[in-house]
């Protein structure tokens, strides 16, 4: 089970994502932004961080990296892709996912242990969870407010593509408390919170995040 983790200049959580893949039992494969080659991996994680300093808009410059050309094609062909935080922003900028992520309504970067409800388990990355399951994973972002027009939001809800929702507190002003969404096929998932930081009892608030990484391995074994 080979899961690629892309490193862009300014990626920060790439080691953590790779560690999470390993803890879940997979093999993490380092992918480089300038390399237009996915090295035959079975799935890809776009990790958190500040690609290119997030200077223009989060994810705006990374979207044009050579590796993304290949990734967009592969994702359209069904390759499972998980974008976490900055990765989610890159997926939106690449139009693999609808909508966009804007500055937190608090105007502050926020790092907190966030309670979420898993809303959909029919994606490649959430099959290990139960619908309605509540989990706590770290959240850390400055531009994590999910926005899309009402029609898009309605469609996401209607098609069961809201993957996770914030509970107790909406930390960034996301529309309809959305923490993560999927594409129509369910192979591409974008998530603002960081499941890769909740995979070890020692370093995470919980180990609730592991399910994202076991889901993909389970799915790949079954496929």
């Amino acid at each position: 089970m080979r899961v690629g983790v892309v490193t862009f200049p300014g990626s920060l959580d790439d080691r953590d994502a790779a560690r999470a893949v390993r803890i879940a039992g997979g093999e993490a494969v380092a992918l480089w932004h300038a390399d237009a080659d996915l090295h035959g991996v079975d799935a890809v994680v776009l990790p958190g961080g500040f690609s290119y300093g997030d200077y223009l808009r989060c994810g705006a410059i990374a979207r044009f990296a050579p590796v993304m050309g290949e990734l967009v094609k592969a994702a359209q062909g069904g390759l499972p892709v998980l974008g976490i935080c900055n990765g989610f922003q890159i997926l939106c900028e690449s139009h693999l996912l609808p909508g966009a992520l804007v500055r937190n309504d608090s105007l502050h970067f926020v790092c907190r242990d966030q309670r979420l409800r898993i809303e959909s388990t029919s994606t490649a990355w959430t099959s290990s969870y139960e619908v309605g399951q509540e989990i706590v994973v770290p959240l850390k972002n400055g531009e994590g407010g999910y926005v899309a027009d009402e029609a898009t939001l309605d469609r996401l809800e209607g098609e069961g593509r809201v993957v996770a929702r914030y509970l107790e507190l909406n930390p960034n002003g996301s529309r309809r408390d959305i923490a993560g969404i999927a594409n129509e096929r369910g192979n591409v998932v974008g998530l603002m919170p960081h499941p890769e930081h909740a995979v070890e009892p020692l370093t995470g608030p919980t180990t609730d995040g592991l399910g994202f990484f076991t889901s993909i391995l389970k799915g790949l074994v079954e496929a």
């Binding site: 200049p9 300014g10 920060l12 959580d13 080691r15 953590d16 560690r19 958190g48 961080g49 500040f50 290119y52 300093g53 997030d54 200077y55 502050h108 970067f109 926020v110 790092c111 907190r112 770290p138 850390k140 400055g142 960081h194 890769e196 930081h197 070890e200 020692l202 370093t203 995470g204």
Partner: protein, 761 residues
Amino acid sequence: MSTAPRKSRDTVDDAIAHPEREQPYAELGLKANEYERIKEILGRRPTSGELAMYSVMWSEHCSYKSSKVHLRQFGDKKPETDKLLVGIGENAGVVDIGQGWAVTFKVESHNHPSYVEPYQGAATGIGGIVRDIISMGARPVAVMDPLRFGAADHPDTRRVLPGVVAGIGGYGNCLGLPNIGGEVVFDPCYQGNPLVNALCLGTLRHEDIHLASAKGVGNLVVLYGAKTGGDGIGGASILASETFEDGGPAKRPAVQVGDPFMEKLLIECTLEVLHAGLVEGIQDLGAAGISCATSELASNGDGGMHVVLDKVPLRDHTLTPEEILMSESQERMAAVVTPANIDAFLDVCRKWDVDAAIIGEVTGTGRLVIEWQGEVIVDVPPRTVAHDGPVYERPIERPDWQDALIADAPSSLKRPASAEEVRATVLQLVGSPNLASKTWVTSQYDRYVLGNTVLAQPEDAGVVRVDEGSGLGVAISTDCNGRFAKLDPYNGAKLALAEAYRNVAATGAEPLAVTNCLNFGSPEDPAVMWQFSEAVRGLADACLELGTPVTGGNVSFYNQTGDVAIHPTPVVGVLGVIDDVEKRTAMALGREGDVVLVLGETRDEFAGSEWAHVVHGHLGGIPPEVDLAAERWLAQVLVAGSRSGLLSAAHDVSDAGIAQALVEMSLRGGVGATVTVPDGTDPFVLLLSESTARAVVTVSPSDVAALESLAGQHGVPVTRLGVVGAPGADLVVENVYGGTASWTLDELRATADATLPALFG
């Protein structure tokens, strides 16, 4: 932008030909005798470029001219240790933590820039200390930020604090370094002089240590990272405009703007070239920029260097050579590379999109020669710039007000005398700015990135895992109570060390080494110099007694407004080692029924306390007694208790005493405790005194005897206070002047959480 580079009007030949030319040395901060010394060293007047270099390198900030004679004590009184792989004098000290691993850590100040421009000042403070750590060959793995601000409700604090916090977060988060701790202290004495200290921790294998030296004649000097612009060179502008240029250049910004993304690339690029063995010597560019990097590299190596200044990549082509020498543009590094490795080195830079330029080479001449447009503008013995700056024995005088301050003991202050008054007093303290929850600040910092953060704020110390295989880790805490230091700088410095040491031990780590950032007023004031000399003496003595060597640090003088100095604030950072981070002790109360105990002795000590400060606005008397032997024994109990799994929670006792410790442990765990003041003990003293060498711990009922025996072996007194309640239980103190004081967790949390958001949005 395409204007031709400015010519220097002052070459070495000019200096010889026109010895009479007047030079603005005073405007550059040099004293007449210092200027004379430069002339003596060179045997002629300096060129404008040389004057630029000497003036920045001989500044207080770079030369430590007022502090040097005192700082020697850290070496002279260094405890016996084989843990110090690199000691004071390098960019940062390196400490052996076992299993082939080493760590380097250092704290530095960015006080003044953060007052002028809070966001960028604080951001570049993080940037600078991180480059110090990478220049040792270490990977930065965590940062901390000890901060001091003026009164919490002062309008200017509302300008400074949010900017500083956003800057530290903005830079550190973008670099991918977890923020694992720090301090937020308010006191009116910092109103015009906030303190922004930044600490960085790095890890490395023993074989990866690198030093700043330029060895090997013919080796190349590479400048890499950001392009050089006109940042932070107010002084050089004076030099250029008032004397050597008609009309003068545009005003240069005194403020530096950071680019954390570039710094992140610089980290990855630097570690890659170091690990590939492509580097002979390396140096970060901080204060004094190229002047500092070239003179230090040269004087630590074979002693000679030839630099072609035209090769420096510029962001602003109007810069004069003097300005290029002094520029403090951020995110730059210098490396010494053999000709054989240069292509590989430049390839790595290209890979990371980092600009690099060969600006010179190592020579055997013993001189640092810098040319500009084909002419020599600097020709100096590098040691005289980098190391042989002036050294002052500044006058020292114990201030005349010190005795009155000490005489004004807190004994006559009105104390609470009923359970209800104790209850109200504790609540008042819980919500006071210095004790209130700092979540408003720390939630702006990423504490998870890198996946090795085991403990972070609000725990006693930050703990990070160094080796994922073995669980080897380190703990760090920084502390300083400036009020204690004001009352008694000698013991105040000892108390700062004692508190940081205790915090590290509370997590189960064994304290090993020390860094410090000495924040003081003007060294030209004999009273300040007395405070400084006392604090250094106290810290050196205490380090010797505790067996923890000083590995490095930083001095920040001139933190004063008019002739009023800040409280002496010797911030002390202690680093400890923990063999297996799984064993660390956290502060949260947990299991219902666990027994709550206090280790150490409580005395009636309120001078400089949080209670006197908050309730009475009082500062006077003699600070709590320092008993370093007791600190040491306490630490041994805490470390042994952690290793053996005896302790289910531990928290050091400091500001606002046992009451505040219990409140913090309860809030962290979501469960209170019911404790009883022992008969014959004054409840107020037990709850709020700030006696040192104490910790609150919990153990399971069946382990009480084992703990008592462990403490007994080390001569640490144990007092049984009570038991942990059921989840959500109130915090209850019985036998308080015949009554009971209790607090619900909700009211404690609401009180603690409300303060900073109400002040800062």
